[in-house]
Point group: C2
Chain length 191, copies 2
DNA sequence: TTTATTATGTACTTTAAAGTACAGAATGTG
DNA sequence: CACATTCTGTACTTTAAAGTACATAATAAA
């Protein structure tokens, strides 16, 4: 009954994600996204709202991607230690070398002082809470695999800290072997 | 032989540091710094160069402050483990609660995609290299205090990762007890 | 006291990017 | 076909902030 959209919103979100991830929120203009996607500004505004709203949608998408993957990996059968190690190893391509330079979109956003919108903070907090919950649940469930006195809650949080640290330092493009060595060393806490 | 400066450059750098740290590079305008310091823009330009150059000076100052403190703490006599623990504990006020929200100026800058100037990257890399070197040197020197097979180099890097992780997650204002628990757990790697 | 020199403050220009007005195009329906 | 409806593209306005021109003020030296 009316003119249909000439683009797939999901494609645009994907393009926007790449640009925001690479250049950051501030340095990515809507003109950039228009140029890369071929979708003019009025259409972007109609489909996603203003720049903040667009970024929030992109970030939520990013979060969902990582959470979905974490859920799949951490639900696998086997020793919790091996599973969590496997999960961390999976981040190595994003924590080292060329690709590592952009770091993590979520952490980049969390550390960006100019982005202190309430919605954004909530999204990031929710993401961190969920991720930590996945780790905690797994460690609690498999608690019997560890030493007496093992604390699943603190350990889950420590893994979150290491994870964040690796992705924060990723901007320096460390060597993947070094990242792996850190993961291996930290994994010795799971005993 | 000429009109003297009416302000102390160091005072301005201190004010600029607070503003950049709180609001980030992009969101802090020179007009903000002018308003806070009482120094007009042409004077800022004459004294520090453009905004990027000013920020670089601020960041170097910040780095020097932390490095100086780390040198002092890590040179103290005593078991390396206790000394390094003390050093990490010293960050707790900056990793938790209200004050933690701004995180670390260096990490905030490293994760800011819009700040990919060469000079800036160099400054941050140099800072990280020096900090890690202080840790590594101490761990190597006191290597005899640890188990057979203890690797000072990897351990120094792991501590850097944890340090970065704590400061990246600081933006969520975690509880100081939780931060302390993570530090204590990680310290068990030094044995 | 005059002069050379550098700092300061006002007010300007420039630029980049967010956001929008509006005319016209593309569809489904009667 | 004609119409209601929503989308699209061009071109505009607005705003915020970086950077600067210029007249003036403050000092040290001669």
């Amino acid at each position: 009954m009316a003119r249909p959209r000439s683009f797939d919103p999901d494609d645009v979100l994907e393009i926007a994600r790449q640009m925001f991830w690479q250049k950051g929120f501030q340095a990515t203009s809507l003109d950039d996204i228009t140029a890369a996607s071929g979708v003019a500004k009025p259409s972007l505004y109609a489909a996603f709202g203003d720049k903040n709203a667009l970024f929030l949608k992109v970030l939520d998408r990013y979060h969902d991607g990582i959470l979905g993957w974490a859920e799949r990996v951490l639900a696998q059968p086997g020793p919790a230690r091996d599973i969590i190690r496997q999960w961390l190893i999976g981040f190595i391509p994003y924590c080292s070398g060329e690709k590592g330079q952009r770091g993590c979109l979520s952490i980049n956003s969390a550390t960006d002082g100019s982005l202190d919108q309430v919605e954004l903070r909530k999204s990031i907090e929710r993401y961190n809470r969920r991720l930590e919950e996945l780790l905690r649940t797994r460690l609690r469930t498999d608690r019997a695999q560890f030493r007496k006195g093992f604390d699943p809650d603190i350990t889950a949080h420590t893994i979150m800290v290491v994870h964040a640290g690796l992705l924060a330092l990723a901007h320096q493009r460390p060597d993947s072997k070094q990242v792996k060595a850190v993961i291996d060393q930290v994994m010795s806490l799971l005993a």
